[in-house]
Every structure is written in C-alpha cells, then in structure tokens.
Subunit: 241 residues, 2 copies
C-alpha cells in the first residue's frame, strides 16, 4: 500500500509520500514514490505514485525518456507542453498505456495491475495546479473547496486534513498537517511505512523550494507524533458528555 | 454503508451504531441496526448489523422467531444456548444460511449480498464476550489486546479508539470514545448517518443497563463534536515541527 498527499495553498504546494511497497505481506521493500521534473525558473512538475510498482516505474521512466530525448517536442515532453492541463493529460495517457500493456501480460494469470498519481506543477506565467490522475488516465484537479488530494490509503489521514487545511493555510502549518495525516496512517496501516519524502514548492519559485527525507528514527517526527498523541488524549479528557 | 462499534471493558460493554442505509446514492433510509435479545437476570445478547438489509433483517427475524418459538431448545434459541460461544456460532450459521439463500436469488442478475455482525453478550455465571461475525459465519472475539470491534466504515473512527480505549477504560470515557469515533466517521462518509443508537451493558447486569437514541439535532452530541474539533485545532496549533 501507499499513502501520498498533496496540498494546493495560496503560498505554494506541499507533497508528502511514504516509501513502502509490498508484494504480499512477506515481501516488503522501500521505493521512492516522489519524482521531480524540473526546468528551474521555467517549470516544476512533481509526481507522486501509488499502485503497482511495475506500472508506476515504467510510467515515470517513459516520461523521463521523453523529457531527455534530444528531439523532445511540446507534444512529447511534459517540460515543454504548453499548459499544465496538457501535462496532466500526457501523464494520464502514459499511465493508461503502461497499465494496459502490463495488464495484457498479466491476463494469462488472471491478475491485474493498477496505479494512480498526484501531479503538482507550475509553469512560468501559469497558476499552480494539483491533479489526481486515475488509473484510466482521466483526472481531477484540486480547487478552493477541496485543496488537497490523496492516493493510496487515504482514510485514516483524512479527518485531520478536513479539519485544518484550507487554501489560506500557511506552508509551515501545511507541513505539520500532512505529517500528522501521515502519522495517523502509519499507525493504522502497516503497509504504509517510513521513510517519508516531503517537498515544498513555493508559489512562483518554479523549482522544488525544499525537500527532505524523514527517516524512521527522525527525532523531530517522533516528537511531533508524541505531542499529537498527547494533545488528542488531553483533548479527550477535557471533553464532557 | 454503516458504522457500528463495540467495546469490551472491565466494567461492561458499550455499543454504538448508526441508522443510515442506502441502495445507491439516491435511495437513503433510516433503519435500526442494533437489536437486543434479553432474558433479564439470565442473559443479554445485543447484535449490531452491517451490510445488505435483506440479509440482516431476515437473519434477525429468524433468530427472533427461534427465541419466541414455544418449542425452543438450547439448540435453536440463542437465549437458551449453553454458552456465548455457542450463541456466536448459531448467529454465524443463521447469517451464513440467509446470505446463501439471498445470493442464490441474486445470482441471476450477477449481484451479491453480504453482511457482518457484532455480538455483545453475557449469560449468568459467564464472562462478558464480544464477537465479530463474518459474512461466512466464522467469527473472532475481542480480547485484552484489542478490546474493540468495528463493522462497516471502520477506518475514519479507528485512530481515536487506538489511542484511548483499553479494557480498563471507564464506561463514561468509553461512551465518549465511541461517540467521537462515530463523529469522525459521520464527517467523512455521507453514507453513515444520524440518528445513533447507543447502549451500555454493565458487567453482570444481564440486561441492557442504559440505551438512548441520539437524534440529528441532539445538543449534547453537537456540543461534544464542536469541543472535539476545537481540541484538535488547539492541539494542532500547539505542536511545533
């Protein structure tokens, strides 16, 4: 399983992903699920992935190949495409193609593979945009009413986002919110696991402003997690029926 | 959808269920999902249901018929069965039979129906026991390590239970915990809805000690929900990264 969350705020975009993958319960591994496509000063596109690793790796690899191709055009490279809407559409098409190819291979054994993605991006002169790409290649976009998108194991971490995230939330609070959302998910679903990848894309920066990997033993994350547990227990004690 | 939760505590058992049912998104109704089978001073059995209404209603009706039958025996009536383990097994068998019958009817239209149940009970001279009955009729039991069981939409409401519920929790705190767990679920899943049914079975009372229906406009529930939101937001503000 996986948990990835992206936030679209007035000040910028915040993305957080876990790194645990599993093929059955007895085959656990760590893979990065956050990928950046960057032309600093021109365009930043960050992609987070959930689902079958064979689908997501191939999709990202094809997008990367197309970007690095010497003959890249606005039709083939997501770093040259005219709009972010077009970028989302190209990523969706690539995902859907790869998924179809993998499923053709799997059909003999009655298995199937699927994947979804979150795409956060901005091009020079354009607005920040945050998309959720479905396995079929269609997509939805975050808006003022719903400024966050989640893929993977989304339920445990949703209540905190529902309560505290708005487009006007500042980036520091947004980082806290996605980390607490991840903390609830880590506690309840073993197939979501550390380390975590966190990135911040400030408005009009047109590059990754800040990113860090949070390892399993991270003292700051543990302190935050314990403070949150304490806040919940204290809050619980104060409430009267 | 549905959300039901049962807690097994040293002091007693606490059960909470919602009442919303839906056949598609455009056909919403209110049905009680909590049922009591009581022989005061001898035995109390409370059942909560999730899943297809045609399965759960027929299962409860058959159990009720068997209890009320003039020729009821320990083999047929859950109020006469020798142990709570036997009761769980009888309920599981009835559920599984009904489900098989309904699915035979549905097979022509490629549909299927399923249901699960939580059973809380105590007989005179026995311990309190809390079971989760699966659609196939097999079951698991709450223990000291995991003193709560949930059916239906269980994810949103699990983090608070994980954090505050132990067998040593007092009944007042337990009521608060299940109501907050339901509150998180109501906020995040529209197909779980008010009114709610709450019941408390105190240890060795061998009857329903207390029950109430909490209607949509209930001032106490709303105040608790708002206090919890405030506690979460305040806790969130106090945490530093």
């Amino acid at each position: 399983m996986t948990y990835c969350v992206g936030l679209l705020l007035n000040e910028g975009m915040v993305c957080l992903s876990d790194t645990r993958t599993n093929a059955g319960l007895d085959n656990i591994a760590t893979y990065r699920k956050m990928f950046h496509f960057e032309a600093p000063g021109e365009r930043i596109i960050s992609i987070m992935t959930a689902g079958s690793l064979s689908v997501t790796q191939t999709t990202i690899a094809r997008l990367r190949e197309a970007v690095e191709d010497a003959d890249a055009t606005p039709e083939t490279s997501i770093l040259l495409a005219p709009t972010l809407l077009k970028v989302a559409s190209m990523i969706g098409n690539t995902l859907s193609e790869v998924r179809a190819e993998v499923n053709e291979k799997l059909s003999a054994s009655q298995a199937s593979a699927s994947a979804s993605m979150i795409v956060a991006g901005q091009r020079r002169g354009g607005a920040m945009r945050l998309f959720l790409i479905y396995p079929e290649g269609n997509f939805i976009e975050a808006t003022e009413d719903t400024p966050f998108l989640q893929i993977g194991e989304h339920k445990y971490g949703k209540p905190i986002l529902d309560r505290v995230v708005k487009m006007t939330t500042c980036i520091a609070d947004a980082e806290k919110a996605v980390l607490l959302s991840m903390d609830s998910t880590l506690r309840s679903n073993l197939s979501v696991g550390m380390p975590l990848d966190l990135c911040v894309i400030e408005k009009d920066a047109l590059k990754v402003s800040r990113q860090r990997r949070i390892e399993a033993g991270d003292a700051g994350f543990r302190a935050m997690s314990e403070a949150w547990s304490k806040a919940l227990r204290d809050g619980f004690l104060q409430i009267t029926l």
